[in-house]
Amino acid sequence: MARKLRAVPAYAIPSLAIVALTAFLAFALVRLFQVEQAMRVNVDENMLWVVTQAQVASHRLDQAVNRRASGDSSEDPELRLDILTSRLTLMDDGPQRRYLVAEGLESHLDDALTRMRALRDSIATAEDDARFAPARLTPHLDALMASLNRIANTVMMAEWESTGSRLDTYRSSLEQVIISIIGIGLSGLILVLLLLIALRQRRAAQRELMGHRDRLEEEVERHVQRYRQAAEALAKALDRERGVSEFYRSFAAMVSHQFRTPLAVIDSGLQRLQRRHRQFTPEQRSERYTRLREAVTQMTRLVEASLTAARIDGQQVEASLGRHSLWRIVDRLCHLQIEATGTQRLQPVHGAEEPWAWCDRALTEQALTNLVGNALTYSPEDRPVSITTAREGDQVVCRVTDFGPGVPVDEQPQLFERFFRGSNAAGTDGTGLGLNIARHLARIQHGDLTVHSTPGEGTTFTLWLPSADAWENRDAPP
């Protein structure tokens, strides 16, 4: 109901303006048409001419009668009377008579007509020149001329009155038309204003609509973002679950494949010790125990390496990256190695510029530990193992070089495969997991591990890591 009430004025104003405009226009047109019609009708203007011509005809008749009387035979009073008759007949005709009657001149007109007929009778009843005797005609003629004079006088005044009042009518009509035109202008102005207001309202409504749309889009975007985050969290959780299950699967596989042999070795060694306990000398027993302990140690290493490999497989290893100096990592590593094994073979070499890596310190240490351990294991005990660090372009490198037998060229492609053991490694303890793990650890940190080996000369493993400067200055962080 309220809405209906509000809608009424909104439509009423333009409708009213249109109606007013139409009404003003129609009124102005009607008035102009009336003026045009009024200007065409001018019987009265012609009337003065008609009356004066009748007067002229009466004077011409008078003149003709008098001249004829004075002997001028060229004059034709009969023709003059006919002309006068025709003039009076015209005045007696419909429109002219009505005009004169309206002006109160009927008696004068009738009097003039009576005198005219008397003149005709007078001429008709006489013979020859007596017909036009002034004495008989002049009294009638004088009376007729007096009537015409009176008529002319009144008609003149009536025409001036009529002209004056017609001008009044024109003026008032024109004033009305001018007012109508002003009305038309005002109505038009109102319509234009309404149009402008409507246009502005429409623009505002459009703007508001667009604002609504934008807000809606933002809202939708926010919801989508939230759902996406939820989906990502779910996916991550799923990945984690998958990783955990992969970890168990991988670990179980490694245990089932790799642990049997050392366990069998330990088992058979223990059986032999059990059976031949008495036959062995204490030295022999001690040697067997040492070998068994080494086997257990090897198994422990295998378990640890397997756990690490399984964690990598299950994506359970996450790198917490930061800015770390390779010098410090290498120095600490050497220090730990020396403390643990007492070796003197490690030769760290640092360049002029301190290489800052973007890496996970613990993972990098583990990878390098694997490389250094391998180098110490697979090179003669009297040869050193060199560890150099450097910055190369956008990356920093750590090279671990041994001077051992090297890796045969045909084996190098498989070197990083899991449980691959080179032909040179026979007779040494190894899990077959170290290099594989080291490369994975490098790759988790956006780096890599490569090998360069020359059989008979030695092997160099290069650990590549992103330089901290280059990583921090990247355009788009990960």
Partner: protein, 170 residues
């Protein structure tokens, strides 16, 4: 169609009594009272430079009828007479204007174009009665006012000459 249309005026000319009249050059003298004098640029004459026409001679021209209102009478009036252009053709008039003179000394110049544009009548009867000089006779130039709105104009009204007795072609 075109050839017929082209030769139609010629055919009409040959068949009309006007042609017979026109070929009897010069114009025969009037036998009765002269009702209209045509002077000026005319080829056929019978009285000096003028053509004097009597009722009989006018009656020889094609008669036309015209019903129209006038500015000085009530209601429609039926006029009869000859077309002005027929009359001027009969005396081989050649001019731009015709000065019409009336017995009451009224005179007005009428462009001859009027007679070609409209069927202007030189009437001698109104409503079947012969016009006399006591009324608007003997002849009255009548325009077909009702047929053409542009003729309902005071500038045409003054060309309605009554008591016509003389035409001067220029």
């Amino acid at each position: 169609m075109m050839p017929i249309r082209r030769y139609l005026p010629v055919a009409v000319l040959l068949l009309s009594p006007l042609t017979a009249w026109a070929t009897e050059s010069p114009l025969p003298p009037p036998e009765e009272e002269v009702v209209l004098v045509v002077a000026g640029d005319i080829a056929l004459t019978n009285h000096g430079d003028e053509a004097h026409l009597d009722k009989q001679m006018l009656a020889a021209l094609p008669r036309e009828q015209l019903t129209t209102h006038t500015s000085v009478t009530d209601g429609p009036q039926t006029f009869e007479g000859v077309l002005a252009r027929d009359l001027l053709g009969a005396v081989r008039a050649d001019g731009e204007t015709v000065t019409a003179l009336a017995l009451n000394d009224y005179r007005v110049e009428i462009p001859t174009a009027d007679f070609h544009d409209y069927d202007v009548l030189i009437a001698d009867t109104m409503n079947g009665e012969r016009l006399t000089r006591r009324d608007k006779g003997p002849l009255w130039i009548v325009y077909p006012r009702d047929d053409h709105p542009q003729l309902q104009d005071i500038r045409y009204d003054y060309r309605w000459v009554w008591q016509l007795y003389r035409l001067e072609v220029e």
